[in-house]
């Protein structure tokens, strides 16, 4: 069911302005058996991320004698979307796993762990547009929680075009019926781009605008991430004071 208009009087369907993000909640260290974990809610997205390792990479031939490899696995639960999704890896999730692995590999200090692998599992329990950004953001918090040495804490956010206007963090209808979607991931300290994909069409000016808006939003998400990590040790902080 396509809504007539995605923007009414400058407000989007859920009442947001063009620069507003959906509500984000991040909690670190939620899974008992994983080395590091994170639960993230981003609007209607609900994502778990778990990190295992560094541990010896198997099978043996995948090992790199000089550095660790990063294996991220993005998986959507069968019940995460309205129509049941057939379980198991499909073309889309294999692609997302690959781009997230490569984004994370860039920030992890892999040269400290030759022959090892860092395994990241991203499980999408509930999907509502922007799951790859949510997954990567959750994975980053889980990596920090696992105590893995990193150059930066990666963070992702999307921008896009709906009703001819560039907006940030597309919701479900906006993603389905919008004109373009531009998810990016950056390393916030250096501003380095770790992931960028685009669906739909944007002019150069629109692209530049969308890119800048997405980077700005990444900064906001990054603050929430950092707070979530420190929150885990907040109880002990109080004891000191």
């Amino acid at each position: 069911m396509k809504p007539e208009k995605l923007i009414v009087d400058g407000r989007r369907l859920d009442g947001r302005g063009p620069n507003d993000l959906r509500k984000i909640k991040i909690e670190a260290g939620v899974l008992h058996r994983a080395d590091g974990s994170c639960y993230l809610e981003w609007g209607g997205n609900k994502v778990f991320a778990a990190v295992y390792g560094p541990r010896e990479a198997v099978p043996r031939h995948t090992q790199n004698p000089l550095r660790a490899i990063v294996k991220a696995r993005y998986n959507m639960a069968a019940f995460s979307v309205e129509d049941r999704k057939r379980p198991g890896p499909d073309r889309r999730s294999v692609e997302i796993s690959k781009v997230i692995s490569e984004a994370l590999e860039r920030v992890i200090l892999t040269e400290q762990f030759p022959r090892a692998s860092v395994d990241v599992c991203i499980e999408v329990l509930d999907a509502e547009a922007g799951t790859r950004c949510a997954g990567l953001t959750a994975a980053a918090v889980a990596l920090v929680d696992a105590g893995i040495p990193m150059r930066d804490i990666p963070v992702a956010c999307a921008a896009g075009k709906i009703d001819g206007q560039v907006v940030v963090d597309l919701g479900k209808e906006e993603d389905n019926y919008g004109q373009a979607d531009l998810p990016i991931a950056i390393a916030p300290r250096t501003g380095e781009v770790l992931l960028m994909q685009m669906d739909g069409h944007l002019t150069v000016e629109e692209f530049n605008k969308a890119f800048d808006m997405a980077v700005e939003s990444c900064g906001k998400v990054s603050e929430i991430q950092k707070k979530a990590i420190l929150q885990r040790y907040h109880a002990v902080d109080e004891v000191i004071e």
């Binding site: 080395d35 590091g36 390792g53 560094p54 541990r55 010896e56 004698p65 200090l109 762990f113 030759p114 022959r115 090892a116 920090v144 929680d145 696992a146 105590g147 893995i148 040495p149 990193m150 150059r151 930066d152 804490i153 390393a187 916030p188 300290r189 950092k226 990590i229 420190l230 040790y233 109880a235 002990v236 902080d237 004891v239 000191i240 004071e241």
Partner: protein
Amino acid sequence: MEQKMRRVVIPSQCLGDAGPFKAGRGTFTEAGKIYSEHLGILNQEGDVLQVIPLKGRYNPIPGDFVIGIVLEAMQSSWLIDINAPYPAVLHVNEAPWEVEFGDTARYLNTGDSVLAKVLSVDESKKLQVTLNDRNLYKIKGGNILEVDPSIVPRIIGKKGSMIANIKKYSRCRIFVGQNGRIWIDGPVDGIDLVLLAINKIESEAISYGLTDRVEELLKQHAKDVR
């Protein structure tokens, strides 16, 4: 930095300029600034800034005493899990027994635990452990508890004060491996007491004056003290 606070830092957090400070362990330098590389506690010794990790795998250092679990008995060696990113090799020459070729499983088999010493770590992080030292043996009986390797110094305490207290009140035999595995043997209520103390240490690892608080806790719960 004040003395009374232990500051928790997260990766990529700027710790200071590379000029007045030197980058120690757990940090990296980029464009004249020192950054933390993992989640940990900032520690300053002289002008050296270092970050002590709060979580993470055990980083083996030659000479460390560790508790290992045998993964596999091979023809002339054993593979030992010491909670590091990689399994460690225990060669028959490093064991105190006369082992015939192929007869390794008679001495140590999958699932057995040993108290071992890290012998060597090479540049590709291949690990070797040894049983040829004083007080190293195959563990028989008792329980093994796993904690985060980063809180092992807290459990031992200054000059062993914390662990001495725990041993005194619980009347258990305890060995704390550097890799975060703790072997405990003794009466059931003693083991409960050890667990209570270690849980407290785990949850308050980054605060000061912990030894006194744990001793108080032990005093409260201990039945009789030698």
